[in-house]
Symmetry: C2
């Protein structure tokens, strides 16, 4: 792609400028958003840190950069409405690449009801995307934050744990050939599905805490609970995805360890009062994985569990 | 800096979590902003594209990454309230660097009334900052966009043009030694002052269009005017900063060419009806530079002017 104008034309081809919550769209110093309350989140998606061009297509990159942001809106039980796109573009990527990238990103945006509100473009050595996303409260009028879980609340997840990590590790080990061997795991890594509808249902059902799993259950669960609470988890191997079991066998690790370390699952993790259990019971795919305890510390199937998920800065 | 936790602790040291417009601050999946309307803008600030570590100190980088974003809020005649920070951090920068970086950014944030609402951190080969900033309308209750200028409206600038470009070119040619020779120009490049107060005054005075000059007057003026309008400019060399005159002489270029090409001036450019001239007349530093014409095309001191400012993707 040769000029900024070419980028802007391509963006205009794929992303409409109008949205009910956008009072002023792209092309000015700022966009203007009009609603009473917004929830806002930002995520980076950087080449050779969050993805590799070896096995991510242009369409995969455009999709996932936005999907991981939408997942944060889902984790508030909210409705995504607009996003801002800061794009770092290496000089070697051709028009065909960008066409696929924006087409894929815009399809996900349209499905999710998202307008592109603005952003910035820059040359860079490596491809990188920084997205800031905006959501509004759904029918309940509320957002669900973390840290409100009470002792004896039930903990639940919606979505697979350890599946995306299995896909990542298989892709790193064997490249695109992993698509044949562990198709669901690879797709979970390349094309995670943000659970907006599920988040809305959980919100309506009155769950007390909710978050999305980006760094693995082992690291993220303490973030949901806060420093004062712990959890007793009961997770049967049989509830894990078949691709997680296969992958764990291949590398000679316990499947539950793969599941707990997780990383980029974008499953939803939450807590709900036992009284509200019948209300969340109808949410598709919801699995109860344990209970909140009075004091800190986590047990898994009766044994103390200590492990760490993924730290971008560690090691 | 070794771990994500160290970064987050440092950020907590410098940036308070609370702000009147932040219903929920950092640390959850999203922050929650509560106001009726927000103006929103994003800007990238990337090593070796927007700045060089040779002559930008850690404090300069932390300052300017935020300042260029605040300038977009100023250009709407609005009041900055919160920002989100996506930080790409190379492994070789030590704790001292980050302390200076955050201290400097937080000083500007505090002066400008800005809370840090959230963000993301990632390793990267080069240092990069992506900021999304939020502003609210001031006393007038309105935002000033571009493209509303009518024929015979007066065009004005507040701030120096060509000064930051002179500083950049001198720094590129001679490194930090340029600080001695062209101190004002170098400071204009390293530490541009966002004109929030001026923007608010211009808004109250009823200007019709406003923007900030980031790519030079030659490129930015057509963006203010829109495709249908043109301008007759009258700019005397004597109104340019002495450092621009010196620099132009050194490189053997006409000072007005340096001024028109500009780039990263972060001066404000706007249009005002002649009827409202007395109202804007009291705004400090405001200079009338011409009038809006019925049809497209720009003249400078009576001669047709065609030139281009800076395109990040050009050449």
């Amino acid at each position: 792609m040769k000029s900024e104008e070419q980028f802007l034309e391509l963006i205009d081809t794929y992303f409409p400028r109008d949205h009910e919550f956008l009072k002023l769209g792209r092309g000015d110093d700022c966009a203007i958003l009009a609603a009473n309350e917004y929830c806002v989140s930002s995520d980076l998606f950087i080449e050779d840190v969050h993805f590799r061009r070896d096995y991510f297509s242009a369409a995969d990159i455009g999709y996932k950069a936005l999907a991981v942001n939408i997942s944060d809106i889902a984790a508030m039980g909210a409705k995504p409405v607009a996003f801002s796109l800061d794009l770092m573009a290496p000089a070697d990527l051709d028009n065909g690449f960008w066409d696929e990238f924006f087409k894929s990103m815009s399809m996900l945006a349209r499905q999710s009801g998202l307008a592109l509100a603005g952003g910035d473009l820059s040359r860079a050595d490596k491809l990188g995307v920084s997205i800031t996303i905006f959501g509004v409260a759904g029918g309940s009028g509320t957002f669900i934050s973390r840290g409100n879980a009470s002792p004896d609340d039930l903990l639940f997840i919606v979505g697979d744990i350890g599946l995306a990590r299995s896909g990542l590790m298989a892709l790193e080990a064997t490249g695109v050939a992993a698509r044949e061997v562990l198709p669901a795991a690879v797709m979970a890594h390349l094309r995670p599905k943000p659970k907006v509808m599920i988040g809305t249902l959980l919100n309506a059902a009155g769950v007390t805490s909710l978050m999305d799993l980006s760094d693995g259950l082992a690291r993220d669960l303490p973030r949901l609970l806060g420093p004062e609470r712990g959890a007793d988890l009961t997770i049967e191997e049989t509830t894990l995805h078949g691709n997680v079991l296969s992958f764990a066998q291949t590398i000679g690790t316990a499947p539950l360890e793969v599941a707990m370390l997780g990383g980029e699952d974008y499953a939803l993790l939450g807590a709900v009062s036992p009284d509200a259990l019948d209300k969340v019971g109808s949410v598709p795919g919801l699995k109860i994985i344990g209970t909140v305890t009075e004091s800190a510390g986590i047990t898994l199937n009766g044994a103390p569990f200590t492990a760490t998920g993924f730290d971008h800065f560690g090691k």
